[in-house]
């Protein structure tokens, strides 16, 4: 099976460790991962902010870049949801590749049939299900299932987990006051868990929550769950 990694623009620039983690997990499971360098961005920010016409060239580019692969994996619930939900309407020729694009846990659990990726991580972790992974992709507890199989991990439940963190893309800037109020509540719930690590399926939401946790010098580390799944030794 030819698997291509769609890193997403935000991860390429600011969170390369998440892409490195996805590559390591898949290689450890015996798969070859390819990274088509012509990839750029899924176009979600443009489409969801009211610039659909400006998003369409990116949609076309995605279809051209990834069409030859059996599966495309993205370490982002939100970008995957954009591709699967909006691509068929924005550019009908992209419908086929959109149907073969998976968020990491979907690829691992549904396509490859793996729940134990052989990871070890001795930390207390709480998991925030990001909105698009929860309500658009309906990931359910797939990421949590993967995390539960990590050796040494202590998973603690997050109160009001399904409530939005307040990121919402350009919402975080356009409606900064409301976004900040939602963030404050999410950070409070995270800190109440006593976890050392907050894990989620989207680095964009994690930049927001993690940014709030850092601002408060909380000591809680925000990590994409792929990075936990990539760990094999004990986390220092």
């Amino acid at each position: 099976m030819r698997i291509a990694l769609f890193i997403t623009c935000v991860n390429d620039l600011a969170y390369p460790q998440t892409g490195i983690a996805v590559t390591r997990i898949l290689r450890r499971l015996g798969h070859t991962v390819e990274f088509p360098v012509a990839q750029t961005c899924c176009g979600q920010m443009h489409a969801n902010t009211g610039y659909r016409a400006e998003a369409v060239p990116m949609v076309r580019g995605f279809a051209d870049t990834f069409d030859g692969y059996d599966a495309v994996v993205a370490p982002s619930g939100s970008c995957t949801a954009m591709i699967r939900d909006q691509y068929p309407r924005l550019h009908p020729a992209a419908a086929s590749v959109a149907g073969r694009t998976y968020e990491l846990s979907e690829l691992l659990v549904d396509v490859l049939g793996v729940t134990d990726v052989g990871a070890a991580f001795a930390q207390t972790v709480t998991y925030h299900p990001t909105c698009h992974s929860l309500r658009m992709l309906r990931l359910g507890d797939k990421p949590l299932t993967l995390l539960r199989h990590v050796r040494g991990i202590r998973l603690v439940e997050l109160d009001d987990a399904t409530e939005c963190c307040g990121f919402g893309g350009t919402f975080a800037l356009k409606n900064a006051a409301v976004s900040t109020a939602m963030l404050a509540d999410k950070c409070a719930r995270v800190r109440e868990t006593g976890a050392a690590v907050l894990a989620a399926a989207d680095n964009s939401c994690l930049a927001h929550i993690g940014g709030g946790l850092d601002r408060a010098r909380s000591g809680v580390r925000a990590m994409h769950y792929a990075e936990i799944l990539a760990m094999t030794g004990h986390y220092a």
Binding site: I7, C9, N11, D12, L13, A14, Y15, P16, Q17, G19, I20, F35, V37, A38, Q39, T40, M45, H46, A47, N48, T49, G50, Y51, R52, E54, A55, P57, M58, G61, T65, C131, H132, R135, E163, C164, G166, F167, G168, G169, T170, F171, A172, L173, K174, N175, A176, A177, V178, S179, T180, A181, M182, L183, A184, A207, H208, G211, G212, D214, R215
Partner: protein, 485 residues
């Protein structure tokens, strides 16, 4: 008579209290700073949310009921003109008089004239979103007619010289102490030592209203549903004040949005299950009133129905946005919305707050007149999951954002970014430039604090760093790592 759903030209937009006077972010900023408001909202929405979940989870065919509700409403939207004419014929045959109002002003004028014709200088009112939408109370006051709200929460809001902040619970922004203070200050017949116990407050309101019911010659209501086949109107409520208004006065005037139609009486079976469970979290609402024209010798003998368009035909013309007209005003989307829960209803500047308001108000007025509302959402999707008629609110929000006027600076930035991102070569170059530019900054931050984040950025990025540290580009982008292996 020609009805307004099929006008000769382009359907006109609506008026009334559906235009946000302030942009949402501005109005929300002061609401968010009000700790008491947030605490009141939090407590109330959590309680209703929990009740809804229990009432919905016990229905085994809830998914099928939602499908049915959505399908009936979609059918109504496809053949609204025909159904409206059928309603008019049936209601007229049963002794009601049907009036058509193109917009808020016309609807208010009709109600004022009918009230005057009935020789009344005051009316009692059943809780109604349509009359709030058209600002009927203000129009009546201007004509020297006093309108008395009889729903407890609407009464609180009216006595407080305030506006509703929730569709189902208009006074949700008040707690019981604040309500007691309003009653003591503004309700002439309230006991001087009135306490803040809900039972005491309700009793004071009951005694205050009883007199109004017995004296009123004219009642004004809305309707939750209007049955095309039979000409029947339906009001569902909890307190019984509606039943009093609908039966005691001689004249009954009902202001009904044209989207309230359902084809047949049997269709009510679906909605009378969906509405109370979604709205108050009850299996059944305490009072369901239905009336068909005039029943000789029983109840109001002078019965009027004012069918209001007020922008609805314009909404109907948009195949993506029109499902907003399926809304049955249950408020489930408000109660689960994290934005509504922080900002409250007044920030939306319209009688329709929350997620449904963010898609309905801009469509009724035209998006340019309510341009900030489609952006008043994180697109988290909680609203769509609870909507009993399956309105895809996030999809419509995104759809309306395409029509909203964009700030010039934002448009320039988005177009530039799109130009970069549509070319793999330009994007790779941009990544390299960004990484290099941030390099020294990142190294410096790294030494001082051990984290790779920035605490302060200049405008417009300061909107981010006001409350959050900002991530920096990594020392090595992913594609650089990939190339090196």
């Amino acid at each position: 008579m020609r009805h307004p759903a099929t006008p000769a030209g382009v359907p006109s937009t609506g008026g009334g209290r559906i235009r946000a006077p302030l942009p949402f972010p501005t109005a929300a900023r002061s609401a968010v700073a009000d700790d008491q408001l947030r605490a009141n909202l939090h407590r109330a929405t959590r309680t209703i949310r929990g009740k809804r979940v229990r009432a919905v989870d016990e229905v085994p065919d809830w998914a099928a009921l939602r499908d049915a509700g959505a399908a009936i409403k979609a059918d109504v939207q496809r053949r609204l003109p025909e159904l409206l004419e059928r309603f008019e014929a049936a209601a007229t045959a049963a002794g009601a008089r049907v009036h058509w109002a193109r917009d808020a002003a016309e609807a208010c004028r009709i109600v004022v004239e009918l009230t005057r014709a009935a020789g009344a200088d005051e009316v009692v009112k059943v809780k109604s979103m349509a009359t709030q939408e058209i600002e009927l109370n203000e129009a009546l006051a201007a004509a020297g007619i006093a309108a008395h709200e009889t729903d407890l929460a609407e009464l609180i809001v009216q006595l407080g010289d305030d506006t509703p902040s929730h569709i189902l619970v208009p006074a949700i922004h008040y707690n019981r102490t604040q309500i007691r203070d309003i009653f003591r200050r503004r309700m002439a017949d309230a006991p001087a030592d009135l306490g803040a116990e809900p039972r005491e407050l309700a009793e004071a309101a009951r005694l205050h209203l009883r007199r109004r019911f017995l004296e009123a010659k004219v009642a004004v209501s809305g309707a939750n549903f209007a049955v095309a086949d039979t000409g029947t109107l339906v009001v569902v409520e909890s307190e019984g004040n509606g039943r009093m208004c609908l039966t005691l006065p001689q004249t009954l005037i009902s202001v009904v949005g044209v989207e309230k139609l359902v084809p047949s009486f049997a269709d009510l079976e679906v909605f009378l299950q969906l509405l109370p469970r979604s709205s108050t979290g009850e299996r059944m609402n305490p009072y369901t009133s239905m009336w068909t024209g005039v029943t000789p010798g029983d109840g109001p003998q002078d019965v009027h129905v004012v069918l209001v368009d007020n922008g609805r035909s314009a909404v109907l013309a948009d195949p993506v946005g029109r499902s907003a007209l399926s809304c049955i005003r249950c408020s489930a989307c408000l109660n689960v919305c994290p934005v509504y829960g922080r900002a409250g209803g007044h920030a939306y500047g319209s009688v329709y707050p929350g997620p449904i308001g963010a898609i309905l108000s801009p469509q009724l007025t035209g998006v340019a007149d309510n341009a900030s509302l489609p952006f008043a959402s994180t697109l988290c999707g909680a609203c769509a999951d609870v909507c009993p008629v399956k309105i895809d609110i996030p999809e419509i929000l995104v759809h309306l954002r395409q029509q909203a006027p964009h700030p010039v600076a934002e448009r320039t930035a988005m177009r530039t970014l799109s130009w970069i991102m549509r070319s793999p070569r330009r994007w790779a170059l941009a990544l390299r430039v960004a990484r290099r530019a941030a390099g020294p900054l990142g190294a410096w931050r790294h030494r001082r604090t051990g984290t790779r984040t920035l605490r302060r950025l200049p405008w417009p990025a300061s909107a981010w760093t006001r409350s959050r540290d900002a991530p920096l580009p990594a020392p090595q982008t992913f594609r650089e790592w990939w190339e090196k292996q």
